[in-house]
Symmetry: D3
Subunit: 166 residues, 6 copies
């Protein structure tokens, strides 16, 4: 049974992530979507919120499960007995960063851990969770970037923030 | 059973190609290395020579077969009941060309044919069959770029050429 | 009155070209689509065929006319009393080539001729007329890349070619 | 009447910004230079200082006005009844970032808000306000990067800083 | 006598830095490796630790000395009567950043200070001190990225950190 | 004595080449500008013409000589007892091509032949001999791209061509 791991922050999960998950799920028997516990200071959603949104969104995509991961991704991949890391590449900047990560993970994985790359659908190639958080914080319409469920969560999160700062 | 197709010219097969074939073979059950019948005017080796060298080199790598393909790669992939095209990305220029090909093939394959990308080993990232042909034609030492078998074939081909032009 | 010139080969006009023409037409009063007389040895359509297809496709887009141009684009732009050249950028490779052309044309135009760049719609960012000609020559379905009229012209051209080579 | 908006931080305005403003002003009837209210923690000049320097520098360039903007640029563009956002592209990294912003703004603007790109003069292509702030803070000579007025303002700002830290 | 300066953070010195130092040392009579005093908030090693590790690693490479530098690199280069700055380029992102720095330093150096670039060995092209610090902080094996001496220093530093946070 | 070799086609020598030669000459004791004997089918000037123009242009730059080279550049470099190949990088596309060539030459040179890169002056970064030949063939003004001597040679060459085709 072929397993791959798709690691990320998913803060929050975007239409681009879901496109990639659907494409990845067709390529392997089992795809583990792995949300990083630590995602830096600029995080908007808590780990539990990110996991909950992810689980709701991937429900119904065959072979996909959602888990949290902490520490090095290579250790998580080994524990899952996965043969590959799945990542999307959208831009040249992505490509160079991902190449560096892939080579580092290959070295850490004893030369045999591969990262396989899939291209997202072009209309999602310009999406970034960071930019979506920014648009949402300015009150912009994010319905073409995320699912209705995530849009609702973003709006609730922004109201929550505003009530704190008032 | 998961099948992937790795298309290319292989004129001739390099250490970089073999590195990618080995990595790809670990990711799927069956990897079909597909040598293009038409490879342009600058071809050095005939289709039969390219196939013969490829077959000799991949002998012993589990799950790998070598075939010729003509026409559109998407049709070949369908006939092989493969789920993906395998390609390597070494450079930004590669990335943009491969992205264009992947999107075109996805459109031609009804939106479901994926191209998956794997990174070659860094020490092979600068190899190009075109450059190797050029070095060989100038009498340079190509032993760090191709296997001993291919090196020998390149030398024989160059002697053959020289005897024609003299 | 603001005039811009959109030069190209249009061999043949693609959905990407039309997307750019529509976007450009909204930015200026008059947009002159300028088909190059000389487009190299690999041309598929004659100048007259390229012009005819272009004219049929842009009919109904306000402010757009189609013309041929020969020689240096800067001379054509001056004759049209245009203030800018319009070009699309899709990729990094495009960007560098277009930057070089823009700087050269600026120098040839006395430092005042600007090239303005507009981004095509993402779903057209991977289209290239060269690739479309190649797909058509292999009998592939190009309906998502060009209009029905251009698709028909491509099919007719291919039949014409086949009858010559048989 | 054609209006375009040129948004930025202008912290402070550089010779590269002014080059772009001059080129942009020739392409439209009215160019609104829009200084962002929020420019992050690393800002050197206050909004009022940035606006004052900008206004002094663009005085005399026909059709150019300077304003502040807050929130989403797409809302500002609508209020100004502008047809386009103007931006410069200097590097590949710029290109990818600007492409992402342009696509996001197009989506937020209902598919019709265009961003048009102009290339700055090559001798200004390597200028960055961030780098200029850094050089100035180390006491370096910034006279080839900014106007005499901005240079003077930078020097005054550095003295002000030093008196605080002493 | 030809002197070049190789500036950097060296936090800590990696196998990639040492590869570049060895290549650079063969090109000039004297190579001054210059460790920046200020390396930002994310620094792991102190200046003294960085200098000590550097000195131990370059011992035995002919013509190489290690020094600290503060302020602008162009001033340091002048004081050393060096004719060039040495830098490595590994990626496109590097290239654009280094190009900007080289042009800025050329302007600050009166048009005559050159930056010369050398390519590291491919197997080191993916190394970054930042990534190595991250891997070490997660307890990963960094032996293929740094020398045994630096590996030991990293491990000691991590233990020191852990004892503070416990 | 430090020697470097600057190889190229120089068909014809441009202001960008001369800028690089001047910068390179300050970095080494002896700079050998090496014009390739074989420069492809699209060559405009003969080898003798290219050498003659080069020699006239570099006269007076201390330490610079002009020679022809045939075959592999690594053999030429060895014969000249040079320690490095000098090349300019202007664009990302240049960077990737030059990286590939540098790695190939390093491998062919036993791991010790370095290529050092210098950046041309920004106002020359967009020059390409190919584009200059094209502009000249269309009767455009090339005086900002090449020296008066080369401009004259280009004009003479174009008249010569026209008299053949008439």
């Amino acid at each position: 049974m072929r397993t791959a791991v798709y690691p990320g922050s998913f803060d929050p999960v975007t239409r681009g992530h879901l496109d990639l998950i659907r494409r990845g799920a067709r390529l392997v028997d089992r795809l583990v979507v792995a949300a990083a516990v630590n995602v830096g200071r600029d995080a908007l959603f808590t780990l539990d919120e990110r996991l909950e949104l992810l689980k709701a969104e991937v429900k119904g995509i065959r072979g996909v499960t959602v888990e949290r991961f902490d520490g090095m991704i290579v250790d998580f991949v080994k524990r899952k007995r996965a043969s590959a890391i799945l990542r999307g590449i959208r831009t040249v900047a992505d490509f160079e960063y991902e190449l560096q990560m892939a080579m580092t993970n290959r070295a850490l994985g004893g030369g045999r851990l591969e990262t396989v790359f899939v291209m997202p659908s072009p209309q999602h190639a310009y999406l970034s969770a960071r930019l979506i958080r920014e648009v949402a914080s300015l009150g912009g319409d994010v319905s073409s970037f995320v699912s209705p469920r995530v849009e609702k969560a973003l709006r609730a999160k922004m109201r929550e923030r505003d009530s704190w700062t008032n």
